[in-house]
Structure formats: structure tokens, C-alpha cells
Symmetry: C2
């Protein structure tokens, strides 16, 4: 019996797993679940999974779906088993990440979190983020902010203009040492913290989070306008010249 694996262990347990929160109900898209919307022939969520599945070190991808969709997932998603495992997400994004975290084998040393609504992750951004998250540090892909940021009060009055030079827009991927991410979520539950990203949960328990360069292409589909922008980026990937004669 000495060669029998422990229940939570497996000879195939990967060193690197990915978690993809995709449990959104599309409230900002008029009830349309953005993760299933088709972008130039393929669903947004499938596009979000592709760079993860193409990565040689990512052995397992756990996708948190809207709870009712796990039993009867879209065929294109079911076909990705067993490398893609489906779990029921929760009301908040962080609930979905925690559900997925419970399905990641204990042997995984690092975990990549990537939004199911980011369909155009460049491979280079994934690689950069993975390379930065070493030595116990987490890493998050970010962008400079194009616009000045204002802080407003409840009445819509501007109360401050933070220094933009020190601010970044956080994207995913966010890569974490697995123990750090698990501890951050455990303590978030204890402390009742919700409504923020995984990196912020790690920051609040004192973990080191490094910012690395993301990409404008790597946008999150939140509104119908975003889908239009994503289609424009895809058209550019397809060829150097656009329909209207603009050269990017």
C-alpha cells in the first residue's frame, strides 16, 4: 500500500493551476451572461481559457460557473474536461474564487487567477506575471490609467484627485503562492471582507504583490461597449489593415 496516493494527492497533480471566476449573471449586460457571449465566433469564456490551456505548466483549470450551469454546461466547455474542472460559483466574485480554490489539489504550489470575462489575454502578459510571482511574492498585471482619477462623495461631489502617477488599473492574471492565496481568502471570510480582488486580499494580510505590465487588449467585458472594443482588437490581430483604412 505504500505506493497508494493520499486522497488529495495525485501523481498528475500539477505544480501550477488556474482559477477562472466566470459566475457572473450579466446584470450590467441586461441579463446576458457575458462569459457566454460570442466574440468573432467563439465564446468570451472559451477565449479566456485558451491561453491558460495552451500553457505547458498549467495542468488544471478550475472554472467557477453560475451555480445552475454546472450540471448542464455548454458543450464547448464540457468538452474541455478533465483538464478543465467546473465548480459552482457564488454571489460575489470572491465566493467564486473560494469555490474554485477548494477544487485545486493541495500539491499545487502556485495559482493563476484569470477573469472569465477577459477574452484577449496576450501570452506575453501571462508569462510576465508568472515570472514575477516567485520567491513568495504575488504578481498582478496592471496598466497605467489613461484618465485622471477623482474621488467622489455620496452626493457626487469631487473630494480628491489622487496622484495618477502612482495608480494602476489592475487586470488579471494575478498569480499567487497557493498557501498565500488560501490564507488570504480564509482571513477575508473571518473578517467579512468582500467586493475586492484577490490581490487586495493578499495585500491586507501583508503579502507582497508586484505590479507587472498588462495590455490594453486584455480588457474585461463588462458593458456592450467593451464587446465592441474587443471586436476591434480581434480585427487588428487578424490583419494589419482595418476595414476603414486605419493602420494601427
Amino acid at each position: 500500500m505504500s505506493t497508494a496516493p493520499r486522497p488529495e494527492a495525485s501523481p498528475a497533480a500539477p505544480a501550477l493551476a488556474a482559477i477562472v471566476p466566470a459566475g457572473g449573471l450579466g446584470r450590467r449586460m441586461g441579463g446576458t451572461r457575458k462569459q457566454y457571449m460570442v466574440l468573432d465566433g467563439r465564446p468570451v469564456l472559451l477565449r479566456a481559457l485558451e491561453p491558460l490551456l495552451a500553457h505547458p505548466e498549467i495542468g488544471l483549470v478550475v472554472v467557477a460557473l453560475p451555480a445552475g450551469d454546472v450540471e448542464d454546461p455548454p458543450a464547448w466547455l464540457a468538452d474541455l474536461a478533465p483538464r478543465v474542472r467546473l465548480v459552482a460559483g457564488g454571489a460575489q466574485r470572491s465566493d467564486s474564487v473560494r469555490s474554485a480554490l477548494a477544487a485545486v489539489p493541495a500539491e499545487c504550489a502556485r495559482i493563476v487567477v484569470h477573469d472569465g470575462a477577459r477574452p484577449l489575454l496576450p501570452v506575453a502578459v501571462l508569462e510576465r506575471t508568472l515570472r514575477a510571482a516567485v520567491g513568495g511574492a504575488a504578481a498582478v498585471a496592471v496598466l497605467p490609467l489613461a484618465d485622471t482619477v477623482k474621488e467622489v462623495d455620496d452626493a457626487g461631489r469631487v473630494v480628491a484627485t489622487p496622484d495618477r502617477a502612482r495608480l494602476r488599473a489592475a487586470q488579471t492574471p494575478q498569480v499567487f503562492p497557493a498557501t498565500l492565496l488560501r490564507e488570504a481568502h480564509r482571513r477575508a471570510v473571518v473578517d467579512g471582507v468582500t467586493g475586492t480582488d484577490d490581490a487586495a486580499l493578499v495585500e491586507r494580510i501583508g503579502g507582497t504583490v508586484l505590479a507587472v505590465a498588462g495590455s490594453p487588449e486584455n480588457l474585461k467585458i463588462t458593458t456592450p461597449e467593451d464587446l465592441l472594443v474587443a471586436a476591434a482588437f480581434l480585427a487588428r490581430r487578424a490583419g494589419p489593415e482595418l476595414a476603414n483604412g486605419l493602420r494601427p
Copy 2:
């Protein structure tokens, strides 16, 4: 001689003037001056001016150009005189706004500032901002932030995650009581404040700035990607169906 106007006054002095900083040298566009780039047949700056020129209350638009361009402006810009007046901009955006401010008649009670690199300002956003800037208050068009914001230190380490619910991305138009904008710029020069937007200069001297809803369409052209996004928004304006079959 009792009917002679004072030098700074004029029977035609408008109650409302616009200032358009367009002095950028295109450093982030590889030296291409983004304000002159052609977006679906018309220059970005011309598109930025059109909703201002179409507004019945805006009597004068002062455009701050790169200094060398004022003597020999593009023909499409020269043709807009006398309603559009050209002045030499400065090294910083705020220098350009101050140059333009000096060319606005003292009789103008309110001033609209609008970036020359925002070519797709919806008329409704301009109207909303103008309506909000009354009773001595300034108003600025803003958007919710799509991404979580991180504050980083010089080493690229994340040091904080500000509460996104209280943050907005500032766009233009920004509308000000003329006396307030002039005083804000005067004190910015005295205090050596640079690198921020006009609303922030008003905030720092205690002026009231109200946030009103901007538009995703109203993006600022800063990178080649932005031009691509703007072209996608324009294509949507042109018709309900996109080339790739997506419906927005």
C-alpha cells in the same frame, strides 16, 4: 466716445467660451500628433471641436496648438476662424489651458474645457456638464472605473487598493465659472502646481466640483489602441450592425 467698447470687451463677447488644449507632441504615439490623426475621414481635433461649434451658446472656441503650428495651421482649422481662435500651447497641458484662457474675453461667465484628443463627445454629455455647472460650481464628466485600482510604489510593489466605489475616471468636458478657473490657474502658477487637470486646480483652492455621467465613447486618444477603439465606436454610430456580425 461713450459707446466705444473697452479693449477687452466686445458687443459680440459670448457668455460661454470653450478652451481646447491640443498642444500635444504625440510622444506616446511615436511622435505622431494625435490631434491631427485622421479618424474615419476627419482629424481627431476637428471631431473634438464639432460638438462645441454646434452648440448654440458657445460663441468662441480657443484652441491651444503646438507652438510652431499656430502660424501655419492645417487648412481645415484655419477655415474655422473667427469663431475658432488659435493660440500657442505650452510644455504642459495646464500651460496650454492658461494660454487659451488669456484669449477668452473677460465677459465670458463660464468656460468649457475639452481635450482636443477626445473626438467622440456625445452632445448629451456636453449638455449634462453645462447644466450641472451652475451656482458657482464646476462640473466634470466622469465614468466608473472598470478595473480595480492599485497604488504602487517606485519599485512597482502594490501598496494599497483604494475603494473603487468612490473613484471615477475624469473625462472632459469640464465646465467652470470663468473667475474660478482663472483664479485656480493663477494660484497653480504661484504654487508651482503642474501635471493635473483643471478640476484638480479648482479643487485645491476649495472650489466645488460636481461629477456628472460621461460616456465610454468619449475616450481620449493616447495610444494607437485608442484610435482603434474610437474607430469601433464610430462604426457603431454609423449603423446597428458591425462587419463581424456583432450587434452592440
